[in-house]
Amino acid sequence: MSLRKYLLISILLIISTVGGLTIWSSYRESIYEVEEVFDAQLASSARMMLGLTLTELGLGNIQSLQSSLMENRFILNMDGEEAGSDHKTKNEQEKDEELYEAGHYYESKLTFQVWDRHGNMVLRSANAPLQPLSDIEQGYSNQLINNVSWRVFGLWNSDRHYRVQTAERYDVRLELVEKITQRLILPFLLLLPILAWLLWIAVGRGLQPLNRIADEVKSRDENYLDEIDESRVPTEVQPMVRALNRLFEKIKYSFEKERRFTSDAAHELRTPLAALKTHAQLAQSASNDEDRKHALSQLNAGVDRASHVVDQLLALTRLEPGANHQQAQQMLDLHQLCVAVVAELIPMAQEKNIEVMVDDAGELLMKGNIASLSMLVRNLVDNAIRYSHENGEVRLSFQLLAHYIQLRVIDDGPGIAENERDKVFQRFYRGEGLQQSGCGIGLSIVRQIAELHGADIQISESEQGGLQVAVSFPKS
């Protein structure tokens, strides 16, 4: 649907309707006015005729008046035929027009009769019939004579001795109204196409900003997502431009995030790869068994490291908002789940002689996804063991609050400085843990999983000065 066409058509329709109504009401108005004027004229000529007849009767000149009336060559008789010839040729019509000074062709459309009170005709116009024009003796009436509609006015003189009837063909009036109406319709019809053309241009110009915005948007791609200048667009289009700009901003942000992720991921993968290559080359060039053995064992550790990074990256990508993850939720016992995860990590804890304790809490039923919640707990406990001191202690405790089930993982490691606590959830952020081989994704994964479960995470200092991570799951 073209906005331009729609606007043009609707504006033209409105103008035509309003114009049509105006013309129609003028038409009605002119009919009324014309009736008034003509009726008045009919009456005044009747009065004049009556006066004239009475005067002529008194002077005894009535016969000569009658004969001068009959000489009018413009008069057609009542049957619609001209007094002289049957039909007028075009030439004769032109001749008639030359004779306008002597009278008018329209005179045939006017007629009159004068009667005395005994019903005898005293005087008549040349085209008047011998019978009375109307049975109505006084006042206006409409009469059909020889299939032509006439307007008749009858008038008695004051002592009711004579009466006059004047009549006028009705079509004279209609013709005038038609002419007036035509004069109104014609310019309107002539102006309509010009109006349409002007409107087409004006609407096109009005819509130009839209085309310009379209061109501007077309010129954008993922590398060029600058804002469209809002000040240069009409007020009506500003909300759209504003929305577009917000969309650009979002796209730019997510591209930027994607770019940063790729670059961070590259760093996290390339470093273990560099280590692998280095140790592989050292193993090749080793001059003794001991060096070769060391290099090979480091190579082994490097492969573990690299695959851990890949696993974590994949886990994070799967948890990304918008990723098509099937996070089927089911009822589970959080306590049971924690016990199972801790059991897996006991060997790692024993390497540093760390004691991992899970507080007894009975059944803690909640709704969630077992796989991802296990990953959350594993990442938290793994971190706690990694950063705890040798011979240290890691503790998992639970708390049932009004609306939450809270899991707390507490270690006695160095903790996280207050100003760093927000940053640790960023991907690839690595804090002070110098000797640790984490890749900085673990807590991002934890946060992502927590978000999927509607849970809230809080990092604080534990009573022993270590780190306490509290995850509050909403009770289902």
Binding site: S263, A266, R270, P272, A275, K277, Q281, Q298
Partner: protein, 221 residues
Amino acid sequence: MRVLLVEDDNLLGDGIKTGLQQQDYIVEWLQDGQAAVLAIGHEDYDVVVLDLGLPKLPGIEVLKQMRTLGKTVPVLILTAQDSIDDRVNGLDAGADDYLTKPFDLDELYARLRALIRRSSGRAEVVIRHGDIELNPASHQVYQAGQLVDLSRREFAVLQELMENSGRVMSRVRLEQGLYGLGEEVESNALEVYVHHLRKKLGSKLIRTIRGVGYMVDKAVY
């Protein structure tokens, strides 16, 4: 030659350190940016290998700070980001060369040799003094076209002196070039190596500056 290696990754750091030690470098390995800035401020290194992604202080900041301190030691940066921007930023911040991870150890060795050679103002690969030619890449010394058999420590002392010909090298500096910071140095070890070098290459090459150290005269051709 003393190298400062700044790399936070345990595995990679261990690998580079081992490799450089096999090339007879004395390697000091640090794992965070702050420690690196401190060490560069207090110790003399011949070259620094610097990872850009470091805890506490990013590599770029380490570079900027050490250059502000007026340290001209050549720096090779290790970067996992292969975008041109990263390399340009690194070089603009004061790095002399870069390697993208993962890299080849041999390339690392070659680039470090080139950096040391350039920083001592030589264009040539070998260091010449009279009829003596020292090749840092192959660890070989020729006198009048004849290969001279030197131990690794003897070679290290000779290289340090020839690289800095015309300057007196203190005993401490030479001893540091022989051993890592933590290692015990026997009090007369340096004299023993100098004695051996004089026996093999002639007594005129290395001059003793009493109470200070040793020097090789600026080569005159």
